[in-house]
Amino acid sequence: MRFGGIDVGSLTAQAVVVENGRITGSKSIGVRPNPVESAETVLGMLLSELGLRHQDISYIVSTGYGREQVQAKGLAHANVSEISCHGVGAVWLLPGVRTIIDIGGQDAKVIRMDASGELKDFVMNDKCAAGTGRFLEVMCRTLGITLDELGTLSLKARNPVGLSSRCSIFCETEVLHYLQRGTDKADIAASVNRAMAERVAALARRVGVEPEVTMSGGVAKNGAVKSELERILGVRMVPCPVDPQIVGALGAAVLARKMGGER
């Protein structure tokens, strides 16, 4: 039996299919104007790559922003919050993981799982964009670099500058100020990543960080944020064995198997 998960986030959408305890395929796209369209597109693309039809999937769970609409449109049988899905997906991949730091486009979450793979506790950022992927995006635009460069450029920093504020708007002003003073972009990039990590670490401390720890979501691909988080929290992150962006959709597919009743 095949099970599917669809995760429509604020910037990207993913679909995953699992069968016999293995990932059969996954797909990630940039979001379309509405979540239902994103879900339709990403699932459609994945299914055609796998040569499958919608009815070949026994049970589908939707997650992420718009999960309810996706289910209401008949694309999924049930919906589960992205908090549970990221937790379940991470533990399925890495059974020893107890803490998941998930940083997406507009959300940052720290998820605690117990030994039996159940959600134990979580925190999620409030409406403010600081400490989310959106913050990095805005900073990259100001610095005139890509998101990928932000991580790599950081490694070349010699004298990271101090960014006093964790607010995206204020930070942007500070970054501009350093640029005008001719500060090395690498030093600014390192500070941006550090500011980001500090913000997320503060969130993590609210629920406590229990090893093993891993990261999911788009920002997990930024090595500098990851190593800053390791330094601040004093932990080593277990690397995510798949694209960290598909963890939510994977968790949804794993839950689909549980809810759809594979015996």
């Binding site: 922003y65 919050s81 959600l119 506790d121 979580f122 999620m124 409030d126 409406k127």
Partner: protein
Amino acid sequence: MEDAIRLAGDILNSHLEEWRRAGGRIVGYTCVATPREIMDAAGILPYRIRALGKPERELADAYLSRFNCGFCRACLQLGLDGTYDFLDGLVENNGCDHLRGMFEDWQYAKDPAFFHYLRVPHTVSEEALEFFAEELELFREALGRHFQVDISDASLAEAMERSNRTREKLRELFSLREGERPALTGRQAMAVILLESSLPPAVFEDYLARFLEESERNEVRGYRARLLLAGSATDELALVGEIEDVGGLVVSDALCYGTRAFWNLPRLAGDPIHALAEAYLKHLLCPRMFDDYATRLDYVLRTARRARVDGAVLVHNKFCDLHGVENVRLRLDLEEAGIPVLVLEKEYGSGADLGRIRTRIQAFLERIGG
């Protein structure tokens, strides 16, 4: 019951308009430490100011900063934009500094004909009770002078009797809400409280009798978990609706727009001013009171157990220091007592926040196995 919710969703409802047409006066207050009975005895309608989650702030922002509680800013906005022009006066008190800022800016900008500052002590002691009783005397005098009424002990006793009756009925109704088969939703319960503090007391008594009758036959079904809602000044029917929409039935609360306004107030009897001072000060379950955390925790725990909740949601508005700090402590203590907790810090009345709130509630229900 749905009519009641609609009625509670209006700042100025039809009964108030009627009251005004008949020459009745209305005085606004905010904090539950204000003895409504003194106004009722003067024939004045005590109206508890609310913002009902309204998101506009632009006028208020000229006075209060963005680092003030959104509830207070929203109330001020309604004061400034004329929504509250139907009030004949305002009673300020020292609930918290945000609230004081709200009242004083309102007074400065609109200069209401009647404005009274009722000081409420932050501790309970013999001296504090004596002080508060004096404050209530001053309040009685100020009202009497301005509105030219004699507020006699006899009329106070009558108003107290009415309060006693109303509270008894409210407890009955809320017991049906907390029961094995909840008779009303959290949204309906909040609407009842909003009506209690915005209708002529006699009119509310009639409504209450009807609610009780309806509720005896009613049963809410189809929820995933029973929740307790506690925290800061929460008058947002939409927020409770959102929680219940994802399956968390709010079977009880420890909110001042909820049970904290009436549940443990004793029967009022004896010398009116002293009885009121004692009842209102000794039973003020708000973190604005010093050294009283144990009593508040006890209240929340008792409520949670009585209503057999599966979890508790502790809300506070951004920048609300009082409840922000209290919720951290409460969370630790409730979790230790075996009650799972979700702390929800929110931007007051922000529709844009509802999606994330929904996600958190849903995840919380998944966590507690609802």
